[in-house]
């Protein structure tokens, strides 16, 4: 069944859209990430203009993260105090990100930047996750009891000025790294149409030493708030949010995420992380290859100025 997308200005199969939403939702439920980093490239490869894909996926990420954030909130596993700092700085970051997005689009380097951004980010995060997961799997095989890192181990930047007490996370650290982290994730999220959960979670764990039970909930809340702001910003600045496209993805994504979450119970943590790392690396390699191999056609085209007529 074909459905006409009014902003993307093309018809796509409804079941295809709900299907990829569902498939990515399943993976995001399984691994506890937003799934934007998979959905945006998938849409671009299936013919949706990259600006519409990035802007509409931000809407989908909001939906995908909401149900998760709510259930963590009910269990009291969100550090609201830290989330406020993260959200404020990341909204500021997404303003900058949307502005850069416009500049790159006008200069014709948006696609290059999206590819490079995904390559560097996913390659880096994927490699880190892979080494960490493989190491813990090997340790478990060898029978060594894996001890979680203590939350009160401090890094040098925890002692910077403006120290704030985060009661829920049992931390007394400077807000500077928190704000900086939020700001960077805001920029990256707006540019690449990703929630940044897969950067934020490791950053909260390894850099800020937030306790494990607070990490996922706080990160999800931050993703919801930041992507909501980014959706509105994209709608205002480039009018490239396709509400129908986003809705089809949302429906598939929310359903898929539930199944993914229940499937996740049958896999061990480090196995999950290794699988996610494989997935992240695969996407990174796909982008890397597209940058290096000669394109089938050196020429490309784009429409300049405001989007289509009504």
């Amino acid at each position: 069944m074909q459905v006409y997308l009014p902003i993307a200005e093309l018809s796509m199969n409804l079941f295809f859209l709900v299907g990829i939403g569902g498939a990515v939702g399943f993976l995001s439920g399984l691994f506890g990430v937003g799934g934007g980093f998979l959905l945006t490239p998938l849409l671009i490869f299936s013919g949706v203009p990259s600006s519409v894909a990035v802007a509409s996926v931000t809407g989908q990420v909001v939906a995908a993260s909401t149900s998760g954030a709510l259930s963590y909130y009910r269990r009291g596993q969100i550090d609201l105090h830290m989330a406020i700092y993260l959200v404020l700085s990341s909204v500021l970051g997404s303003f900058v990100g949307v502005w850069i997005f416009g500049l790159l689009r006008a200069a014709g380097q948006l696609d290059l930047f999206i590819s490079l951004g995904f390559l560097i980010l996913l390659g880096f995060v994927g490699t880190l996750m892979m080494t960490e997961a493989v190491r813990s799997i090997l340790k478990r095989r060898a029978g060594i009891v894996v001890r979680e890192k203590l939350p009160n181990q401090h890094n040098w930047f925890h002692g910077l000025p403006w120290r704030v007490r985060f009661k829920k996370s049992r931390l007394y650290i400077s807000v500077v790294p928190v704000l900086l982290l939020g700001f960077c994730i805001g920029i990256v999220g707006a540019l690449l149409g990703i929630g940044g959960g897969f950067i934020l979670v490791p950053a909260l764990v390894y850099l800020l030493r937030v306790p494990g039970n607070m990490v996922i909930g706080t990160s999800l809340l931050q993703v919801v708030a930041m992507m909501a702001a980014t959706t509105i910003l994209h709608a205002v600045t480039s009018q490239s949010v396709d509400i129908l496209l986003a809705f089809c993805l949302m429906v598939g994504g929310t359903v898929g995420a539930q199944f993914g979450a229940s499937a996740g119970k049958y896999l061990r943590g480090e196995q999950l992380r290794a699988l996610l790392a494989l997935l992240v690396l695969a996407v990174a390699i796909r982008f890397g290859i597209s940058l290096v191999i000669p394109p089938s056609n050196a020429f490309s085209m784009a429409v300049l100025g405001a989007g289509g007529a009504i």
């Binding site: 009014p6 949010v241 509400i243 000669p294 020429f299 784009a302 007529a309």
Partner: protein, 262 residues
């Protein structure tokens, strides 16, 4: 005597006029009467492209005493979509990665262009006549650019190729079908991603390699109903549109959590 003089004078005056009339209205001055099957193509949620029929007949020019026209005729129809500002870019290899390094911006480049004819264009007329009317897909008249000359034509050619691959530019040399000596029709397939806006179907009538009549018909492609409402809202109330998107997302996420909670 006086009357004879007057008659001669009149005859002398009238003769060139009669001669002139015979020259400007040669045997076979024709006009085109044409019509597009629908003047408005509505894009609804199930829009998957639409085929339009352009039909017409060749008739003697209005006011002439001629009863019929004589061929053989050839008909070429160009269908031009709304004009856009389009850019063509070229990637080159810099330090091992492929980057867009050159570009040419084309103002007023058609977003849709189809040429339909009843036989091969080069058998209908010579390339010069075709170029004068900017009929071929890669005509210089299509889209104005500020890029310098040899480069501009390279990019124009590539842009046309890209548009052809996308299905928006097409040359169909069997697109016009004659049902009789003077009645023709042509079918234009608008793809599902046909650009929205006003279109012009321009019909050229060729006889002996020269254009003897032309006719323009307009039609428009526009979103109606919900699609139009969404398109308008995203442009006129972007802030509200964005807020509604976010509310919808929050609601869907919340609903998903409630429905599946066990």
């Amino acid at each position: 005597m006086k009357r004879l003089l007057l008659a001669t004078l009149l005859a002398l005056l009238a003769a060139p006029a009669v001669l002139f009339a015979a020259l400007v209205a040669p045997a076979g001055a024709e006009q085109l009467v044409s019509q597009v099957s629908s003047e408005e193509v509505a894009i609804t949620s199930s829009f998957a492209g639409q085929t339009l029929t352009i039909f017409g007949s060749i008739e003697p020019e209005a006011g002439s005493k001629q009863k019929f026209v004589e061929g053989p005729y050839h008909v070429v129809i160009t269908v031009t979509g709304p004009l856009q500002k389009r850019v063509a870019r070229k990637m080159t290899n810099q330090f091992g990665i492929w980057i867009n390094t050159q570009q040419a911006v084309f103002e007023e480049f058609p977003s849709f262009y189809q040429v339909l004819s009843d036989s091969k264009l080069d058998t209908i007329t010579n390339p010069v006549t075709l170029a004068e009317d900017s009929i071929p897909l890669d005509s210089i008249g299509i889209g104005k650019t500020s890029a310098p000359y040899p480069q501009s034509e390279l990019f124009r050619g590539e842009l046309v190729k890209l548009m052809q691959r996308k299905g928006q530019f097409k040359l169909n040399e069997q697109g016009v079908i004659f049902r009789s000596d003077t009645f023709y029709f042509a079918q234009v397939a608008l793809p599902s991603d046909a650009p929205v806006g006003s279109y012009i179907a321009h019909t050229y009538l060729f006889k002996g390699g020269a254009v003897v009549a032309e006719k323009s018909n307009g039609f428009s492609v526009r979103k109606i109903g919900f699609e139009r409402f969404l398109g308008l809202a995203s442009h006129q109330q972007p802030l509200l549109y964005g807020l509604v998107c976010v509310m919808l997302a929050l609601f869907t996420g919340w609903l998903g959590g409630v429905v599946f909670r066990r």
